[in-house]
Subunit: 289 residues, 2 copies
């Protein structure tokens, strides 16, 4: 029986544990390393891991697949410390939200006896911690893999199949640079917008009386993990700031049209966004579970 080790049992690692249990029960030996003993106990109680360690004792030496879901900086330290502990031939993967800087930093530390795959599940939650992990979050979700020239093709295919078998809908291989550019737009800019929208309220008002789902949807991710997202934003500063600029230009375009009562121009802007959203929905709906 293959052994899967989860390093970090927060909301992402925890979701891996629960998704493996939900989709492929009794198929793997599943273990976890997490600094929080209570989390490990809870996951054992839930039956989603068989064994846990607060710091690695025996797990890394035995695991065939190691999924590391730690904050970028913690991940770097973990790899430096444990580079030699992995089992020869193991697949080791990380799940962080930025890729180029991770790759630059990690590449020199990758031990030659493992195959290190960089990946990113496009499925998060605004809440943090194992208790908010929910297997359903991975269902039909996108997963991005940024292969390096060191990766064994067979391992990437095996990992891709594993991801699909635990619920992911589409697994795409992209370059680290493209990953970061796109994530700066689809994920980081959207979080920045939600934060700014929430913070631009005047708290003396009873805003909750005046809202529909639009406001609820657009501010959901304003509840944000400040440590994680500060790291992600700063590690992807260039791409993110470019997204800011493009977005601001579009806001300005609409604002000018409103200021000058440019009705036809407003129709064009709204038609453009509607067409784009419909085209996006069409492509997005082709994810399979």
């Amino acid at each position: 029986m293959k052994h899967i080790a989860l390093v970090g049992l927060g909301v992402i690692g925890g979701t891996f544990a629960k998704a493996i249990d939900a989709h492929m029960p009794n198929t793997f030996k599943v273990t976890a390393i997490d600094k929080n003993e209570e989390t490990l106990a809870r996951a054992k109680e839930d039956g989603v891991i068989q064994h846990g360690e607060v710091t690695n004792q025996t797990i890394l030496q035995d695991a065939d697949l190691v999924i590391i879901s730690l904050y970028p900086k913690v991940l770097k330290t973990f790899l430096e410390t444990h580079a030699q502990d992995f089992k020869p031939g193991a697949i080791v993967t990380e799940t962080s939200g930025i890729k180029q800087t991770m790759l630059d930093f990690i590449a020199p530390h990758i031990p030659s006896h493992v195959d290190f795959i960089f990946g990113h599940p496009m499925a998060g939650r605004e809440k943090q911690g194992y208790n908010y992990a929910d297997a359903a979050v991975f269902n039909k979700a996108n997963y991005l893999i940024t292969p390096t020239e060191l990766n064994d093709r067979k391992n990437i295919e095996e990992f891709t199949n594993f991801l699909k078998s635990i619920g992911f809908g589409r697994v795409s291989e992209v370059t680290p640079r493209m990953h970061d550019t796109m994530i700066g737009y689809t994920s980081q800019l959207t979080h920045a917008i939600a934060v700014a929208l929430m913070n631009s309220d005047d708290t003396s008002r009873e805003t909750y009386k005046y809202v529909g789902d639009s406001f609820r949807d657009l501010t959901r991710i304003a509840n944000i993990n400040e440590y994680l997202w500060t790291e992600l934003f700063l590690e992807n500063k260039e791409a993110l700031l470019e997204s800011f600029d493009t977005f601001e230009a579009e806001m300005q375009r609409l604002k000018t049209a409103i200021q000058n009562d440019e009705v036809e121009n407003m129709y064009d802007i709204f038609r453009q966004s509607s067409e784009r959203r419909l085209a996006f929905e069409k492509s997005d709906s082709k994810r399979k579970d």
Copy 2:
């Protein structure tokens, strides 16, 4: 049996018809006026109206409650044409997304023999038309009423009770000015943001591969009815542009922090938005159905 007439059987009027049928079947006589004969036939087939007219023949003269869900400009024409057709003592209400300019325009045309209530259901859909009407959309939703000094208190209470009985969770009475200021922020700015976010994409990219729910949620309303929203934006220009400015200032605050690696400042910004969103969720969750 009381007679409720729905003028305009688009997505809002249609939702009223379906919500009345879902929550209080066989309680009212329900009729509709809509320029589209097929829509009327469909609603009759669905059993949510008993009778329809393409232009008013007998409906307005008999209805005790008239709910008008037309575009602002069409609504104005409708009222000018039909001011004298309403039944004496009827409650007439409209559902448009702006209030001060509607009130300014409509007030002189309100016939003295009806009680005209200005209201706004905070529950829309990005899709238009009767076919997308869904009673569930009103469930637990907010409703805003902007009373005038001409309204009979008893009628406002009766209408409020009716709204709660067809699913609305919270019915608030506010001033037209406050309504428009808040809607400029909670609804119009959010739509503007979604439109700008969608339009700031580079369509040569396969964006659908790189998205999670954040992007899906933030762009849902980028699919927008260009005629309706152009009217709404321009009729509420001042409040909307103020919201743009406040939002832009918050985007700039975050951008500057990122540019200068101001980690503590970023933590503060994210903590502020998280606290605000959590406080908002707490108040918002108190809607009853």
